[in-house]
Every structure is written in C-alpha cells, then in structure tokens.
C-alpha cells in the first residue's frame, strides 16, 4: 500500500512540478525509466515468489538505471547511441514481458 502510495505521489509530483528535462539527460531518461520499470516488475515478481528483499530491490533498481544509462552513454560516445538504446529497450522489454508473465501466473493462475 505504501509502495502504491509512493507511486501515486511521484506521479502527482511530476504533474505538479512539470520540470523540463535537462538537455544532457534527454537521451538517458527514457531508457532509465524503462530500466526502472524492469526493476519494479522484477521486484513485484520476486515478492510474489516470496524472495523479495528490499536491499536487493534498491540495489537492482539503482544499478539497472545506471547501467542502462551508461550503455546508452557509451553508445553515444561510439556513435551508435540510437541503435544501442534500441537494443537496451528491446532487452528490457523482453525481461518486462517475462516478469509480467510470471506475475500473471501468480495472480490469475493462468
């Protein structure tokens, strides 16, 4: 419940403050958001599996975001930024799908 409240609070804060994304972060924020989504779904799945640990969740959340952004940054430096960010999104998307499938099995038994 607190977690859901936190999510709602964050959305409201985003709507309320509506800050502009700094130019230097513009390439990384979308990837970071997708990576964080992956971490959240992974955490939810782990919770349903009964193996959730908040420390692990925090670490994985932060490292997911950092690694995703770092990969894109590296790609930008190498001149393959758009391709690499596409690749990262594909990988994260696959992971999100498999996590959601596991969650679905838990919740709906199907």
């Amino acid at each position: 419940m607190i977690a859901a409240l936190g999510l709602v609070l964050g959305i409201i804060a985003g709507l309320a403050f509506a800050p502009d994304v700094p130019l230097s972060l513009q390439n990384y924020l979308p990837i970071a958001v997708v990576a964080a989504l992956d971490a959240v779904f992974g955490g939810l799945r782990a919770y349903l599996d009964g193996i959730f640990d908040d420390k692990v969740f925090v670490v994985s959340f932060v490292s997911n975001v950092v690694v995703a952004a770092a990969i894109v940054y590296l790609g930008d430096q190498l001149g393959v930024g758009s391709q690499l960010s596409t690749g990262v999104v594909v990988v994260l998307g696959i992971r999100i799908f498999s996590n959601v499938a596991a969650i679905r099995r838990h919740v709906f038994h199907a």
Binding site: M1, I2, A3, A4, L5, G6, L7, V8, L9, G10, I11, A13, G14, L15, A18, P19, D20, V21, L23, Q26, N27, L29, P30, A32, V33, A36, L37, A39, V40, F41, G42, G43, L44, R45, A46, Y47, L48, D49, G50, I51, F52, D53, D54, K55, V56, F57, V58, V59, S60, F61, N64, D76, G81, S82, R95, N99, A102, R105, H106, V107
Partner: protein
C-alpha cells in the same frame, strides 16, 4: 549483477514452494541474491501450479498491512513515477529537434527535402493547370464578348431593340395624288444602299429585313399594318449620306414629287429615337446550313 540471480534462483525455489505465505521477509534476508533481478525460465514455474495461493496472499497482505520496509520501495516508485511523468510530458511537449541525435536529424532533413521536392513538383503541376485554365477562360470570355457584340449588332439589324443615333426624318405628305408603293419601296431601297441602319414608319412600324409593302385602302400596308399619310420615315445613319441618296436627280424624292404629287421634307437630325421593335419570329423553313 544480471547474471547472478538466474543461477541463484532455481535453488531456493523448490524449497520455498510449500512454505506458508506469511514469511516472505526472512527468505529475502537469508538469501539476498535473488532480488528483483531474479528471472527464471518458465519451466520451473510449473511446479508451483498445485499451490497457487502464496503469491496472491502475499500481495493482499502487502496491500492491507504494509510493513515499514515498503517505505524504501515507495520512495523508489515515487522516483519512477516522477521520472515517467516528466518523460511523458517532455515527449509530448518537446516536438522540436533539440533532443535528436545527428543521424536522426539527417533523416528528418532527408524527409523534409523529399517532402519539399514533392511539394515543389505539385506546385509546378498546379501552376501549369492554373495557367491552362486561365487561358481557357480568357479565350472563352473573348468568345463570349464577341458573341455578345454579334447579338447586339444582329438585334439592331433585325429591329429587335430600340435604337438611337444621328439620322434623318423624312416626311412624305400626299398633296395632289396617292403615293405609290413602288416609290416608297424605292425610297427604302435607296436608304439601305446608303447605309441606313434602322428605319421606322410613322413612329410605330420598324422596317426589317422581311418587311413588305402592299397597297391598301386609305394608305399603304406595311407588314400587314395600315400606314396613313403623311408618311414619316425616321432613319438612323450618316445624315448627309442618307440625304444625298434621296435627293439626287431622278432619285426617290424627285419621283415622289413629280409622279406621285407628294410633298417631301427631309430633316437632318443629331439624334433620332426609334422606339418600335419587331418580333423576332423564328424562321419556319430556313435552317443554318452545315459548316456555318
């Protein structure tokens, strides 16, 4: 870090399966590796099917009675929600090209160049079409003007419209004898030769191409209508030429005065108004020949 959890997870899973729902925390503590990153293949999921309740129970429990440790999750979720909303708004609002990479900009530029090229071709095509239509409509309006001019001319010649212009008024009065139809016909013929454009008898009968004269009791019949003396003939044309055409030696005036015993008076006028008109009768037999 992504490598570790899949290795670690299969081990704890079978042992944990029968465990009651109320103890998720100790597991996580004792085995921190398989965190949220834990992704296993769907294969070993199947051995969970017989006992489906724990996941749902845990979720319900977390919703109804959240533990303190959810706070840190809440903070991270808040960050996620915040970033998500910001990014969505930024994507919606920021349609400029500031955030694009060089290659994307080149693509955009290429697309724009192609679009501009297509638009230019379209403009050229439409301009040609417009010129074509303008020429066509100009030619058409010229033809229309010409046709209108022709209609005006033909209306005047056929006597379908009232006309006004310089001309003469000729008054023929019978003093000692009757005016002969032939003499009148002669007069009209001479006036036509001299370029008379419109003629009218007694302010009431317009002379046209199909006018005919006939003898009648008490006067002369013109187009089936009785004319009584004095005959007043109004003519539009060059006054001097018309007068000359009538007054030459052995001309109509002399004939009328000498043989018919009439008195003839001719006035040259700046402006003669001819108000009577003829009916534009449709020809019954004549049709335009082919090739006209």
């Amino acid at each position: 870090m992504t490598d570790q959890p899949p290795d670690a997870e299969p081990a704890p899973t079978p042992g944990r399966a029968p465990r009651p729902t109320s103890a998720p925390a100790p597991d996580a503590m004792t085995d921190p590796q398989p965190g949220p990153e834990a992704h296993a293949g769907p294969a070993h999921r199947t051995d969970r099917e017989p006992e489906p309740e724990p996941g749902r129970e845990r979720l319900r429990h977390a919703l109804v009675r959240p533990s303190k440790r959810q706070v840190v999750v809440a903070v991270l979720l808040a960050v996620l929600g915040f970033a998500f909303v910001v990014q969505v708004r930024d994507t919606k609002a920021n349609d400029t090209y500031a955030g694009l990479r060089e290659s994307e900009l080149i693509e955009v530029l290429d697309g724009l160049t192609g679009t501009a090229e297509r638009a230019r071709r379209e403009v050229g095509r439409l301009q040609a079409r417009r010129d074509e239509l303008t020429n066509e409509s100009r030619a058409r309006s010229a033809a229309l003007d010409e046709a209108e001019q022709r209609v005006k001319t033909l209306n005047i010649i056929a006597g379908l419209v009232p006309v006004t212009g310089p001309g003469i008024r000729m008054t023929i009065d019978e003093s000692s004898g009757r005016v002969n139809v032939g003499s009148l016909l002669d007069t009209v013929q001479e006036l036509r030769t001299a370029g008379a454009e419109a003629m009218e008898f007694n302010d009431s009968i317009r002379v046209g191409a199909d006018s005919s004269f006939d003898n009648a009791v008490g006067g002369i019949e013109l187009d089936g209508q009785l004319l009584e003396p004095p005959y007043v003939l109004e003519v539009i044309g060059d006054p001097h030429v018309l007068r000359t055409a009538l007054t030459f030696s052995t001309g109509p005036v002399e004939t009328l005065e000498t043989y018919d015993g009439a008195t003839v008076k001719i006035e040259e006028l700046e402006s003669v108004d001819i108000t009577s008109v003829r009916d534009g009768a449709r020809p019954e037999y004549a049709e335009p020949g082919t090739g006209q």
